[in-house]
Symmetry: C2
Subunit: 341 residues, 2 copies
């Protein structure tokens, strides 16, 4: 495997306008899987005296932490296609890419149905990538509270604006893709906002390496990340915590001139006064600067602002919006046309 598409989607090298015209229909019929499964990458063993406060389980021993869970599907005939690694953001898990909250097909299955080997991760210390109970148990046994891990959940109310469903919970933007009604979001999205059980430092040591190792180990081949897609992110992104160029450079195997695509859904632009979320406006500015910086350094980066392409009403969670497969389809079409392995 010479190249791998990391993150959400691939780099946009040519006319962004081609995106808007891409035809996309929901794939139907049986899905034929060549192979599927899961594995863990990365991780380190630690010794702890505080694994348990229950008599039935020993407090002292060794556990593995900072490993990352990866689940994958390789479609029949897709062994030679460029793999896609889907990496969720803050406060979420790999469920981000599965069935949407209202029960439609998610991006993971869609990419697979379009012929791409697809890898979904739970980032370190979230979801099935287990954490470490030692801090909690140590404090329970008398250690200072500073030993407690920094854990937090995004509430329904705070996620509402961050995800750009509306300016204030539970109102939605008038043009929001309407399947995401308040009741639906409350019922289902809440259950899809798992607690972020990680220290405050989002990019834990080794997390980038674990991400990168994921697809390589799944395919049992060495690999290099050549495309770094960054949907709906900005240089000051709290979920990533770093500027994108810096992040790209830290990724193992990432070339010095990565192809990069950054995409922005609706309701984030500075100039869109109606319904703009303050959190996102500066990020779009930062994203433009990032794209310029990559290109100035000899890379090939593009920025697509969906409303500029006539695609309106998307939230931050565009992989779950009503037109989620239209957007995924544009990405697959672009990848098939532009990404060489």
């Amino acid at each position: 495997m010479r190249g791998i598409v990391a993150g959400l989607l691939a780099a946009l090298a040519l006319a962004p306008a081609a995106f808007a015209q891409a035809p996309t229909s929901t794939p139907t019929g049986p899905l034929s899987i060549e192979s599927q499964g899961s594995f863990f990458v990365g991780g380190r063993d630690i010794a702890s005296e505080d694994l348990s406060t229950l008599p039935a389980y020993a407090p002292a021993g060794t556990i593995t932490v900072d490993q990352m869970y990866v689940q994958y599907q390789i479609p029949a005939g897709g062994t030679a296609a460029t793999p896609v690694v889907l990496i969720h953001g803050c406060c979420l898990t790999g469920t981000t890419w599965e069935t949407t909250p209202d029960g439609r097909m998610g991006w993971a299955e869609y990419f697979t149905r379009r012929g791409q080997p697809t890898y979904v991760v739970d980032q370190v210390r979230r979801g099935r990538s287990a954490g470490d109970p030692s801090g909690v148990n140590a404090v329970r046994k008398g250690a200072p509270v500073e030993r407690l891990p920094t854990v937090f959940s995004a509430s329904h109310e705070s996620a509402w604006a961050i995800f750009r469903f509306g300016t204030a919970f539970p109102q939605t933007f008038p043009d929001l893709h309407p399947d995401r009604g308040p009741g639906r979001v409350l019922e289902a999205d809440g259950a899809r906002l798992p607690r972020l059980d990680a220290d405050a430092e989002p990019d834990r040591p080794g997390a980038g390496g674990a991400r990168a190792e994921a697809a390589g180990r799944g395919a049992h081949q060495p690999f290099a990340i050549r495309h770094l897609p960054l949907p709906d992110r900005g240089a000051g992104d709290q979920g990533g915590g770093r500027d994108h160029l810096g992040r790209a450079r830290r990724l193992p195997g990432c070339g010095r001139r990565p192809r990069t695509l950054s995409r922005h859904p609706d309701h984030g632009a500075v100039r869109r006064l109606r319904g703009a979320i303050p959190r996102w406006a500066p990020r779009l500015v930062a994203c433009r600067a990032f794209v310029e910086k990559v290109n100035a350094a000899g890379g090939k980066a593009s920025l697509v602002v969906l409303p500029d392409q006539g695609i309106r009403g998307n939230s931050h969670m565009l992989m779950q919006d009503r037109n989620n497969l239209q957007i995924a389809g544009m990405l697959v079409d672009w990848m098939k046309a532009n990404v060489k392995r």
Copy 2:
């Protein structure tokens, strides 16, 4: 859907000896999936003032807790077949049923390939079934340590004996299925022992309901649990915390006369002095008593002790042992012959 097989496998009604002769080969070739996806069941909304201690995330708001994550695959042509719900035990997640630590096919895919709609859950507050950070954050802000959740991990060392890989880490039983060598277990099984992030009460309120709702909602039909399979468990099982008959009666829709199968792998029997793990010997005794109790009450329960069937060397984690598909195959064969929907 009139019936559902809950837990790991179905009830044994007829000659247990038939198990040992069941031919099983690893299914190969593309896997054809009619539909797949994930959903959440159960859960309740709680208001909290302690969701976060980070300035970027609001401390107050609503989150959903005690929901259960369910991932499913329905094989092509399998819509009418009896669904199987795979429920993991203590300190684990749904990964229990996926690819084995050494990279072979797990039970989830095997059941799917044998034509059964297969549902894999992450039990409440574990894996992708998110927890509640409120207790940790409240203590961080000054609340008494009693607010801390009871969380624990099974260490590699303690899991070693509990899972019956050997009497003491890292020695293995001489007849243990040899793919599970010490190095392999240390590397891979450790990563598959996620922290149990639950209160000490294993069967949380609503957990049984969430489990039961899982398959029903997946198939979008009401259902009843009619078969309660209990591999390698005993009446005093710490992982379940309740006696099986009581548990069966608490499961929604579970008949008063459930068909039940309890199975015991190797190295657990009282009479097997060589390599017997003290933890398990009384459970086999309790299991025999449970089977008698169910049958005395008019149910149909059987107990299979694998060594009595000539199948030796299995650990507690028989769904990951070298002969895991042989055992799964016996279960599917029995289900096809005995379970009526």
